[in-house]
Symmetry: D3
């Protein structure tokens, strides 16, 4: 049986012991935003949390609760989608890390799934590192999932990868039968690539620019078995890589 | 069977429909802070969420996810306790309410359990009301619980009321056998009353001022039956009162 | 004859001596807002200042000047009413307390009269306590006045209690003959109680919600004798209680 | 007899009438800082307020209360001196002007005495002008006093001009007998000139740089007659000049 | 001969005409940070500006001046390196874009060279897009240079690519003879890759972690011819791609 | 030949040596704003930079790059004019000075040309002085130029003084033939004097209030010889005065 890692579910003496023995904490920023008629609004939060939980178990430490909500302004034209301003998102992370850094954790591992969070997360991590004298490592779990599972876990929005991600967390939240209005995958892939380009790219204003119906991909391909494999392999990948990163001897000047 | 109300677990079309038909949203600010060796750090978050969930079910609307973490600086000497600065707490609420107000909700009901949140929650509510043209109602669920259940639900810290509150959410998180170091209830009651006084009072710096061991009260008195009754009665009380408050015709000038 | 306590009226060497010998300072946040046609806009500021002055005299220390203006957004539909944003109000208190804490005062007693200030004052006090290593005690002088004088000093707006409060400061500022448009006391009491409720309550947007004419109560009942008694008894009550609170040995952890 | 102009002393209907008929408001930022053993800490606040009061009477309008405290960081090594951070000072002015601009005042006249306020006051005035669509005029009353009265009102610190300024407000606050430790006027004049130079100048860190005892000048030369003349002539000068400035037809583009 | 594009060098009527006819502006955030003993501190600023200038010429528009300084906290252990906090960097961009958006430019092309700027630039671009109703396109010119020129323009720090980049701007600023203390390229490449990893990565605290001497690479390989080609090809690439991005019909909802 | 002083053009070891040996840095805040049809938008930035460069050469130290853009809201009705908010301007200066103060410079000399910058520059200088324990000296180079050259360098906008100032930097940026729409000098002088008055003055909203065409004066009178003299004499004046100011023994209390 897996150990309990959710800090909020632990008793204080147990959390303290875990923080002091490992000096490590895992944090999973989320996002609550539309994922079509078949996946829940909290898809990205559930994905990150589910993998982060497995990572924390592997590292025998705690998962510190961050808001389920992330930085998702470009989904706001679909009611129910929520978003923090980037500076609020950063402020929350600073406040939380201030606490746990004072409680002995000087290695902070962020497990993120939502690409809209990435720039703000990086700035938050940099700020936290300088202010609280900790080492921050970020794991972009959606990229790792796609890297490890390829076509079975495509970087669409609300397709096979994200459907499996929700299944990791709670299969009852998936209702593939409702997935009846996908945007054209060819068109959406092409437009998504435009915004994800690394060298010259516009900044996404509204996800309608990518997919008029808000989602695309093949949710019907997701399986519980795939979900299980993602959780297993991606958490293993992150745990191993994080240990390497935290283990480096920094060559900082005096 | 109860309807699903957690916004993050709903699909977007369902959340949108709920928001537009009721124009109402329920929000439950939390807190993650030490509650002795027998209750989880997230006690206040679980209590608020559990009651808020029942309130949202009664009102047939959604529960919008706020951070589990609240304003708890005076528990920081116990590692694992987390706290947002008041201005961060307010900023999160403003950002979230900005989204849902634009998504048609103009009646916002906050169900709070943690008294440390109250001043910041009031300022947040005032700000949200002015900025987004909504009506805010706040329910202080711990006071209601105590009012309705009296000696069975005392306003201690981690005693019978809060133990029952965790049982509402998940009884497996309670371990009364570990509750072996209560602070003196007489002393703690006396000191807690000092900080809770309404007319002349100091502001609490550290909960050691109230209880050297961090908690006091009678967790062993909590029962699942009590937990069930609290959820039932308190949510009923809040739902009824909130409907009255939202139903008033405001006498605002032109 | 009473000693001079207003810091701004003292010469610097005298203020320094007073601060260093008592390590204590009294501060009185105000409010400038409509109080009907018979009481001045600064009613709450005058009330707080008058009592705070008497408290400072009893404690042989100084009264540090805060703005006359407080947090009163809900009176803004009556021109001439002024309000600071809560964050500005807090920033002023932080700046002032930073100065006096560096000048040896580590016991800060706030004497407040305006209930609209209370949540922001509490956050300011908490912030000041943590940033400048002082002990903050708050006295809500309007509640004390009502507690000590009951029906003669009702918690209406611009009624007998507040009329007496202005008389404490300067009777020439009261003109009861103009008090010709009270709102219905029954209606206003009922609505005021709604917003002052402790368990489930809306947040006041505009004082028209309480009283369409902006005030209610019985200003004609106030007398100079009552005014004198309020100043005497309330300041005595606060001074005694504050000394007790500042005298406690805090049980803070190392 | 002079009309009452202090907004906080007016009843709301009178304040509203005054604001609406003149569309003008006078504001007097203060300062609370050491002025030697013979003048009160609030010297600059009293000076500004006294002149501003007379200006408001001449213009038949209101004097809106600003904090007595201004921007005086360089006096903080004398306990009892108070200072707001520049951004706090600006925030207060913005909040207050937001209120009165909404209450019909679109001509705002600031009467300042404390030169430490000037840069922040200018930025506040600029901000207020742009945000609230008003016209701001600033009067530097200490410069005008010196201009009109010359050697009888020197720009020292706590000398004849400032002693007379306090006498304008309340002669009982002056105790010239205690003025026994002036700094050398020659040295202080020379150093003050350095910091007041217009073309190349250091920024004052601490008033010890100007005067080791905190003050210099000839308080013994101040008389009640001079005080009376200053109030009369300076307020007349400001009122006339302000009317000219507010009366100009702005040549703004469409 | 090339047209003048630097906004600060244009006369106002010419700048206005250019902004109104193209509705486009180019902006080049910089960085001032150590680049070894052979390249100037402003290397990244010069690189970005040089390419941006050529891009603006191709697009017949203006280059709007941003600060030479960017976000480079990890170079601060080498004196002379400068850095803005991310929030300051964002505030500057917001202020500047507010101006030019009001002056008709609704297409904003950022040409960046410094990878430390990228997360803050993305957040600034997102903010600007939402606040001022413009379209933002970002070009990461260092990545494009490396993409187009491969081994001749490696992504080291102060190696052949950056040496050529300075040559584009002003060859007299390069002094390859001083380049006598490169860090090991193998080690630095390996460590740089760790921080540039996309899936699991630590955040760079200090560039000593990458290269103990602050730089690595082969500056001696840079030539004026290469510099000329970079300017030519990279600006052409960006201009063409930007035109495509700005030309897309956004599919935004009503 | 003159030494290179632009920090961004120096190699890091040279900048470090210069900072450590002199402990001094020169900074030149700029402004980019309309200067008629004959002078470039960056006139004030070029003027300040050109003089500051000569000052830095005389003092054998570095010129640290600040943004070309300053605080110029009142020129925004002429497209192409740029402005930072005062708080952004201050934040940039704080960030940059934080860096160089940590890199050994504790004497900071600001050479300003744009009078719109002055209040914010003073606040920035005060903040920097208190936060980073440095001494700040400000030189208002336009006032010095006018003081030294009188009628040949008038304090108009875009007249002989500013035309010469641009010639100092780059004569090719001046095109006097286009200077065909001066505003009336008599009118503009009169109105400019109103806003520059020291005792009672309105705050400038829009430069149309001073000069309907945006400029006035006699650009045709400027000569290269005058430009050369201004650079020579004004930089000499500033360098000498600054050395005196930095050389004073501060009389700060313990």
């Amino acid at each position: 049986m897996k150990i309990e890692v959710h800090l909020e579910r632990l008793k204080q003496p147990d959390a303290e012991a875990r923080l002091k023995s490992t000096r490590l904490a895992v944090l999973a920023p989320g996002s609550v935003e539309q994922h079509g008629p078949h996946l829940p609004l909290g898809t990205d939060a559930f994905a990150a949390m589910s993998i982060a939980e497995a990572v924390a178990q592997r590292l025998n430490t705690v998962l510190v609760p961050l808001p389920l909500i992330g930085v998702s302004p470009y989904h706001q034209s679909w009611p129910g989608s929520l978003s923090l301003q980037a500076q609020t998102f950063i402020a929350v992370i600073e406040d939380v890390c201030d606490c746990i850094a004072r409680h002995s954790a000087d290695k902070l591992l962020f497990v993120n799934w939502h690409e809209g969070n990435s720039p703000a997360l990086r700035l938050a991590g940099d700020s936290v590192q300088r202010k609280f004298n900790v080492r921050v490592v970020i794991a972009e779990s959606h990229l790792i999932t796609n890297k490890l599972f390829g076509e079975r876990a495509q970087l669409t929005h609300a397709g096979n990868m994200e459907t499996a991600a929700v299944m990791m967390y709670d299969p009852s939240l998936v209702d593939v039968r409702k997935a009846d209005n996908p945007s054209s995958q060819a068109d959406a892939d092409a437009m998504h690539a435009v915004f994800r380009e690394k060298d010259v790219f516009p900044i996404l204003r509204d996800f309608h620019e990518v997919a008029p119906t808000g989602w695309y991909g093949k949710p019907e391909e997701a399986t519980l078995e795939l979900a299980q494999q993602i959780r297993e392999k991606v958490s293993e990948y992150i745990a191993e890589r994080a240990q390497i990163e935290f283990g480096r001897n920094s060559r900082l000047p005096e």
